[in-house]
């Protein structure tokens, strides 16, 4: 009704699942620059090229990174919009509860002023 997510059908489970790994979160961070390919990204981690490639594939399937061809190279680039969606969901839920707690506090304060209630 109010919350509109203008992104073509995001798969939230997949997205959150992909972010549930420290290496993948780190890959997402590095790929914001969008200048490195899988091999270059792999050099930052004490793991095999294949292992990093696998992580990148999981992120790509979740829509969190895309592979883009630049000349003869293929670089991995973070899809910022995808990440924002994941974050926004929790932010909105936080707002819901903040509103509730604000109303609770008002009720408690009101009650103090009317001790005979």
């Amino acid at each position: 009704m109010v919350v509109s997510v203008q992104i073509a059908p995001p798969d939230f489970d997949r997205m959150f699942g992909a972010l549930a790994d420290a290496t993948r979160r780190d890959l997402v961070r590095r790929a914001i620059e969008g200048e490195e390919g899988v091999a270059e990204l792999a050099s930052h981690y004490p793991m095999s090229f294949a292992a990093v490639q696998k992580h990148v594939a999981i992120l790509a399937r979740a829509g969190l990174v895309t592979k883009k061809r630049i000349g003869r190279r293929k670089v991995v680039r973070t899809n910022l919009e995808g990440l924002r969606v994941a974050r926004r969901l929790l932010d909105e839920y936080e707002e819901l509860w903040r509103g509730r707690i604000g109303r609770m506090a008002a009720l408690v304060a009101e009650n103090r002023k009317e001790p005979n209630r």
């Binding site: 919350v3 420290a22 509103g99 707690i101």
Partner: protein, 171 residues
């Protein structure tokens, strides 16, 4: 500030929010245990809640509906799981059809409330909300439970800064 800490864990699909009140645990408990008080804070001002059943015992149910500006009335219920007045309340919050029957097509989430005395006449209330899956969370939010939601900043730095450790943000 009433809300003292928020921890959001996108991977665990959990949000925990701590709040402190200038009141006793018993007073804070009343906010949940008295249906007339509950309906004054559960729904946002544009969607006030009406509580039609309130059996706050394990296995009991709380039933409510909210009335929107267009006269629309989304119905909801709690399935009460644990009650330890005035300290602990655990319930499953779900949507229902107009007759109060749980609508299994709609999302549910579990809410754990912990209330504790922190001295000097103050009480801490911790709300832990757990979603069964991301789709349920997305669906619940899309239901328009909260009107006039602020457009969240969606700061990329925030999500990246988390790095797996649930962060504490105080606004």
């Amino acid at each position: 500030m009433t809300v003292t800490a928020v921890r959001k864990d996108p991977e665990g699909l959990t949000m925990t929010l701590d709040a402190e009140f200038d009141a006793s645990p018993e007073r804070v408990w009343q906010l949940w245990a008295d249906p007339r008080q509950l309906e004054r804070w559960w729904g946002p001002p544009t969607y006030p809640a009406t509580v039609t059943a309130h059996d706050l015992r394990p296995g009991g149910r709380v039933e409510y509906h909210m009335t929107g500006p267009e006269g629309d009335q989304p119905h909801g219920y709690w399935e009460v799981l644990e009650v330890d007045a005035p300290r602990r309340l655990v319930f499953r919050d779900g949507f229902a059809d107009a007759d109060g029957r749980p609508n299994s097509d709609m999302p549910i989430n579990d809410v754990r409330v912990a209330i504790s005395d922190i001295g000097a006449g103050r009480t801490r209330m911790s709300i832990e909300s757990i979603f069964p899956d991301a789709a349920a969370m997305e669906q619940l939010l899309a239901m328009g439970m909260e009107q006039g939601l602020t457009e969240a900043a969606g700061q990329i730095d925030a999500i990246l800064a988390e790095d797996g450790v649930p962060t504490t943000t105080a606004r």
